[in-house]
């Protein structure tokens, strides 16, 4: 007989340290821990989690949830802007709060380089250093190393690379990555994984997947602050369903506070992409957050949310802003285009952000890619768009109108009904009827 537990957390003002376990049946495990009577709620502090995840609404696989982290209570689905070097390029903290950012990402690789993990620790952690009052997430540093350093190499020990500062050989181990992330102090930290490009085939993918599982144990062992920082495991396995399945099971066995689906957004075709997400979300536990790394196109976020993912990050919205491209419900608006030179409309007439309330496409056309202000203003708008999308996803699920939201979204992006096949396939699996949006 399977013991059924309902896990809910104590609402304390401190980071969650204890977990209530309610049983509705005999529970030898609970008995073993506390020797208490059946059917009673009691406190257990074995599960070291610094978060509480509560699903507030669902539509098939999609879910809207409340994610309580030590520094902030978030609503999912949510998009996390990337603040690589301890800042979102060109935006201040109060602007980010105004826009509705809940969690921002810091890159461990960059921060460990400058200003350095020791310094951040000495000055009280990254929150204090940046004066960011909401939640932070740091990645492991592994991905940057592999993508930025052409001499990086992965061994069982860790990632070996040439220091960009003085060309000395260096090694980033799972232990060290966690140590650095413990110093930085983010609410969510990522395990060091062996990430390979999805475009690669062959035994390397299997090797990377198993290594990722071995490394998660080393990460768990090295993690010194589990009651303040949540260690997320990352599911690897390339595009191979068998490998992905093994990895998911392995990760779930470790009973981590949350899970990420990694190794995607690296150039694979969309049809493979959504299938991996669908497989993983189906196998990951209901009651833990699911983070698809590197996903940033609005369409991809809508599809992944329909399939049951909760968190996303990408440099895309801010990076594309610096090139003069704005995100709008219809898709993209290239502000540098000559057609914008005399367009007196705001970027998006339906957007309520400071930029759309005050500036025309014509004026922005003049300043994008030429003046720092152009970068700032379009970044501001693009992140506002992403936060609005996150909020709309959350609210539409909670209010029971998620399919309608998806249909509206697709209709505006694809007014001619030419919705890509992969989206149609994914929506079918997600159980959302988009036939009215597709061309006959």
């Amino acid at each position: 007989m399977r013991n059924r537990f309902r896990i809910c957390a104590v609402a304390t003002s401190d980071p969650i340290k204890t977990v209530h376990l309610k049983t509705n049946g005999t529970s030898r495990y609970a008995d073993h821990l506390n020797g208490q009577d059946h059917g009673e709620a009691f406190s257990v502090s074995f599960l070291k989690m610094a978060l509480k995840f509560e699903v507030l609404g669902k539509f098939n696989r999609a879910r809207a949830a409340r994610l309580a982290l030590p520094h902030f209570v978030c609503q999912t689905p949510l998009f996390m802007p990337v603040g690589t070097q301890g800042t979102i390029k060109g935006l201040t903290n109060n602007q980010l709060e105004e826009i509705g950012c809940q969690i921002i990402l810091g890159n461990t690789y960059h921060l460990a380089l400058r200003p350095g993990a020791e310094l951040i620790d000495d000055l009280g952690g990254l929150h204090k250093f940046m004066n960011w009052k909401r939640a932070l997430l740091t990645d492991s540093g592994g991905f940057q190393m592999v993508s930025l350093l052409h001499l990086a190499d992965i061994t069982e020990q860790g990632v070996t690379f040439q220091s960009p500062v003085d060309a000395k050989p260096m090694l980033l181990t799972p232990e060290e990555s966690i140590q650095i992330q413990n110093k930085i102090g983010a609410d969510i930290i990522m395990a060091l994984d062996d990430v390979v490009k999805t475009t690669i085939t062959g035994p390397r993918i299997e090797e990377a997947m198993y290594r990722t599982l071995r490394w998660i144990d080393r990460c768990i062992a090295a993690h010194k602050r589990p009651d303040e920082q949540n260690l997320f495991g990352i599911v690897q396995g390339g595009l191979d369903p068998v490998l992905r399945d093994i990895c998911v099971r392995g990760m779930v066995d470790r009973n981590l506070p949350g899970y990420a689906i990694g190794g995607l957004s690296g150039g694979e075709d969309k049809d493979s992409f959504w299938r991996v997400v669908a497989q993983c979300t189906a196998a990951l536990p209901e009651d833990k957050p699911r983070y698809v790394m590197g996903v940033g196109y609005p369409l991809d976020i809508v599809v992944c949310s329909a399939l049951g993912a909760d968190m996303y990050d990408c440099v895309y919205p801010t990076r594309t802003a610096r090139f003069g491209t704005a995100l709008i419900p219809e898709g993209l608006l290239k502000l540098k285009n000559q057609a914008m030179a005399n367009d007196e409309r705001p970027i998006d007439p339906t957007c309520l952000c400071m930029v759309c309330k005050n500036y025309t496409r014509a004026y922005l056309h003049c300043i994008v890619t030429k003046d720092p202000m152009g970068s700032q203003l379009v970044s501001y708008h693009n992140l506002s768009y992403m936060m609005r999308l996150s909020k709309d996803l959350h609210t539409s699920i909670v209010e029971g109108r998620f399919p309608e939201f998806v249909q509206d979204f697709l209709r505006v992006q694809f007014p001619r009904g030419d919705i890509p096949e992969w989206v149609c396939n994914a929506m079918e699996v997600a159980g959302i009827d988009i036939s009215t949006c597709c061309a006959p």
Binding site: M354, N358, Y359, C366, I367, S375, Q376
Partner: protein
């Protein structure tokens, strides 16, 4: 717009004055002068967006300089007009824009190309010849609150003949602009030039003073003239301009130069000091209340830089968790530390410049405020002397210590 001198003879041999500039609109409190025109690029500060601009001291921070040359190529005059002019286009409805072509940064008078048809400028769009008619048309679409007539500004080293030509041209273009302006010059500032020639300066000022304009823009300074002879040149101008009308100037950026201008009776300054400081990673720290100290503490501390500013790129700030200036009420000092800005500068992040421009603007506006207090108290000369001494003492000590 209305201007009135509220305190005259505050120093500088009687020329320094405090004034009140009533800019209208929703702002009822006047802007006190001497004050600063905040530099802009295409109408907006280089790094400070409108929401942060709103956190700077008001009404001082409502005064912005704008160069029509930033809008040569786009948007078109028609589009600017359709949008409603500068205030609408920039989302700065309560602000007061003073337009003059020269911005002392990227739009620079190029006197060799200037001819009888128009003034030549180096602009971000290359070298351009601007004719009065095109200039007035652009102004009409931008609708700044005040605008300077077109002038032929020449550097200090040109020949006497060229200098004389510049005065003649400037006067001719002033009259042309007056004639072309649909509003008849109601918001036009007459430009006074004359280079480094006292007689020409005097002559030009007297002529411009006869035109029916609400104020004056003093051009041609900061173009290589001798700092020692500058005061005489400035006085030659201001002594021949009506007391009760407002006087703007460009090219005097540094605090010492501003003090020099104030001593000669200038009211408003278009300064690029903040821009240069910001780009260089410098933050202003000098204390304003230098009149309160009976004996100023001239001992060298170990901050890197002079007593006016600190270079936040310096490694000594890596772990400095204090704000740039203790008790500074600007957004930057209220929210961030020297250590964070040092990091941002090291990793070349734009946020460093945003935070610095906010602080530096706030601080420089404070400097102007302190100057006004000194003038009101009749202590401007002492203020000026002390400020300059405090800068020189540092240099002297540095030399002695080395």
């Amino acid at each position: 717009m209305r201007f009135a001198v509220t305190r005259a003879c505050g120093g500088g041999g009687g020329r320094a004055r405090v004034g009140a500039l009533y800019i209208g609109g929703c702002t009822t409190a006047p802007i006190e002068t001497p004050s600063l025109l905040i530099s802009t690029r295409k109408g907006l500060p280089t790094f400070v967006s409108r929401d942060h601009l709103a956190t700077l001291p008001t009404p001082d921070s409502l005064l912005l300089h704008v160069s029509p040359l930033h809008f040569l190529d786009c948007p078109s005059s028609k589009t600017i007009s359709n949008i409603g002019g500068l205030h609408q286009m920039l989302g700065l409805h309560e602000h007061f824009f003073v337009a003059a072509p020269r911005d002392s940064l990227e739009s620079l008078p190029e006197s060799e190309g200037t001819n009888k048809l128009g003034a030549s400028f180096e602009t971000p769009c290359g070298r351009r010849l601007i004719k009065p008619s095109a200039y007035v048309e652009k102004i009409a679409s931008l609708k700044p609150n005040l605008w300077a007539s077109m002038a032929d500004e020449v550097p200090a080293w040109v020949s006497e003949k060229r200098n004389k030509t510049s005065v003649d041209r400037t006067l001719r273009w002033l009259d042309e602009c007056l004639a072309l302006d649909p509003a008849g010059g109601k918001t036009m500032l007459g430009v006074v030039v004359g280079g480094s020639n006292i007689e020409e300066r005097k002559h030009c000022a007297i002529e411009v003073a006869t035109r029916n304009v609400p104020g004056f823009w003093i051009g041609g300074f900061g173009l290589g003239e001798n700092v020692e002879e500058r005061s005489a040149l400035l006085n030659a101008v201001t002594d021949n301009l009506p007391e009760e009308k407002v006087r703007f100037i460009s090219g005097l950026s540094l605090p010492e130069e501003v003090l020099q201008g104030v001593a000669s009776g200038i009211d408003l300054f278009d300064s690029t000091y903040i821009y240069h400081l910001t780009l260089g990673g410098f933050a202003l720290i000098f204390p304003f209340k230098i009149l309160d100290h009976n004996n100023l503490d001239f001992q060298l501390d170990d901050t890197v830089g002079d007593r006016t500013k600190i270079n936040l790129r310096a490694t000594i700030y890596r772990k400095d968790i204090t704000p740039i200036v203790a008790n500074c009420s600007c957004f930057t000092c209220q929210n961030h530390t020297r250590a964070y800005i040092n990091h941002l500068l090291n990793v070349h992040e734009m946020l460093a410049h945003i935070l610095l421009e906010i602080h530096n603007t706030h601080h420089y506006l404070g400097f102007f405020r302190a100057m006004r207090e000194a003038i009101k108290g009749g202590k401007f000369d002492l203020f000026r002397h002390r400020f300059i001494e405090s800068r020189r003492i540092h240099l002297t000590s540095a030399v002695l210590c080395s």
